[in-house]
Amino acid sequence: MPQEDEQFDSLPPAIVDALRDLDGPAVMPDPRRDADVLSGARQHLAETAGLSRKRRNLRLFFAGGAGGAIAAAAMIALIVFIASPVNGPQSEQDFAANTPDSPQSAAARPGDLNDDGTIDILDAYVLAKQIERDPSSLAMDLNRDGEANQRDIDWVAQQAVALNTGERG
C-alpha cells in the first residue's frame, strides 16, 4: 500500500504503529446469521411503517378536524359580524334616547314646550321663535349641547314626525 505509506510519512512512528495494529484479520460473518438479521430488520421495518401510517392518518384526521372546526368557527364569527345590524343610532330619536344626558331621559316629554301633552310641530315653532328672540338663552338648550340652536328645533320636530312614537291623529 504505497499510498497508505505516503500518508503515514508525516505521522510519528508510534502513531503509525498503533494505526497498523488496528487492522486485524478479516472476519467473515456467517451468511445464515446475516440473512436472519436482514429478515428480522425487514419485518421490524414493515411493522413500524404500518404503525407509522396509522398514526399519521390519525394525526391528519385530528388536525383536519381541528382545522375545519377553527375555520367553521371563524366563518360563523365573520357571518355574525356581517349580519349584525349596523351599530349606532338609526335616527335622531334613537340617539336622544340612548344618550344619558338627553332631555328624553332627563325628564318626561321635555319637548312639549306649550305643555299641551303632545310634542308636535307647534312646540318646534315656539322653540324657533324663542331662540330667534334670545339665542343666548340656555333654557332652550334641549339637547344640552351647550347652546340653543337649530339642532334643538330639529330634535323637537323629529320627535313630532317619528313614526314609531308619533301619535296618530
Binding site: G64, A124, A162, N164, R168
Partner: protein, 176 residues
C-alpha cells in the same frame, strides 16, 4: 390525503352555506332598491297637499297621511310654495317611511321665525308634494284610498287654529 380533501370540502361547503344564509339575512335588512326595473303592478303617485287656514295666518302645520287599502313607500318629499316655509329642505318627516313599506307618514313644518304674522299664508296654499310608490297592484282606474288628517296647525304665536287639509293627484306631464 382523503381526510384532508374531505376536510377542505367540508370547510368550503360550510363557508358557502353560511355565507348564503348571512347574505340572505342582510338582503332582508336592506331597504328596497328604488332604481332599476319597476316591478309589474307598481304605481307611482304624486300628491299635492294643500292647507287652507281659513283667513288666519298659518305659522306651522302637521298632518298625517295614511292609506287603508294599500301600503306605500315614500320616494320623495318636496317643500311647498310659500316663502315663509322655504327652509331650503323638505318638510320634516321620518326617513323610515322611505326605507320600506308603511301605511302612514307624518309631515310637518314651521314658518321661518323671522316672518311676521302678516307675511304668513292666510289662504289655501300648497304646503308639500309627496311622491309615493304603491307596490301592490291596484285595480284598473282605482286609486289607493288615502286619508289626510291635519293634526296641528298654528298661528304666528304657535296657538292652534282651525284649518283644512286636502290633496290632489298630480297628473304626470307628458313630453310633447
Amino acid at each position: 390525503m382523503k381526510t384532508l380533501a374531505a376536510t377542505i370540502l367540508f370547510v368550503l361547503l360550510s363557508a358557502w352555506g353560511l355565507s348564503s344564509i348571512a347574505l340572505a339575512e342582510r338582503d332582508e335588512q336592506q331597504p328596497p332598491v328604488q332604481d332599476g326595473p319597476v316591478p309589474a303592478g307598481t304605481t307611482f303617485l304624486t300628491l299635492d297637499v294643500t292647507i287652507d287656514p281659513n283667513g288666519q295666518p298659518m305659522g306651522a302645520y302637521q298632518f298625517e297621511l295614511t292609506s287603508d287599502n294599500a301600503s306605500f313607500t315614500v320616494v320623495g318629499v318636496e317643500a311647498g310654495e310659500h316663502a315663509a316655509f322655504d327652509h331650503g329642505r323638505p318638510p320634516y318627516f321620518d326617513p323610515v317611511a322611505t326605507q320600506g313599506e308603511t301605511d302612514r307618514l307624518i309631515l310637518a313644518e314651521y314658518a321661518l321665525p323671522e316672518f311676521d304674522a302678516d307675511q304668513l299664508p292666510t289662504r289655501a296654499v300648497r304646503v308639500a308634494t309627496v311622491h309615493v310608490m304603491f307596490a301592490d297592484p291596484l285595480h284598473e282606474h282605482e286609486n289607493p284610498s288615502i286619508q289626510l288628517n291635519l293634526t296641528a296647525a298654528g298661528d304666528a304665536d304657535g296657538e292652534r287654529i282651525d284649518a283644512d287639509v286636502s290633496y290632489s293627484f298630480r297628473t304626470p306631464e307628458r313630453p310633447e
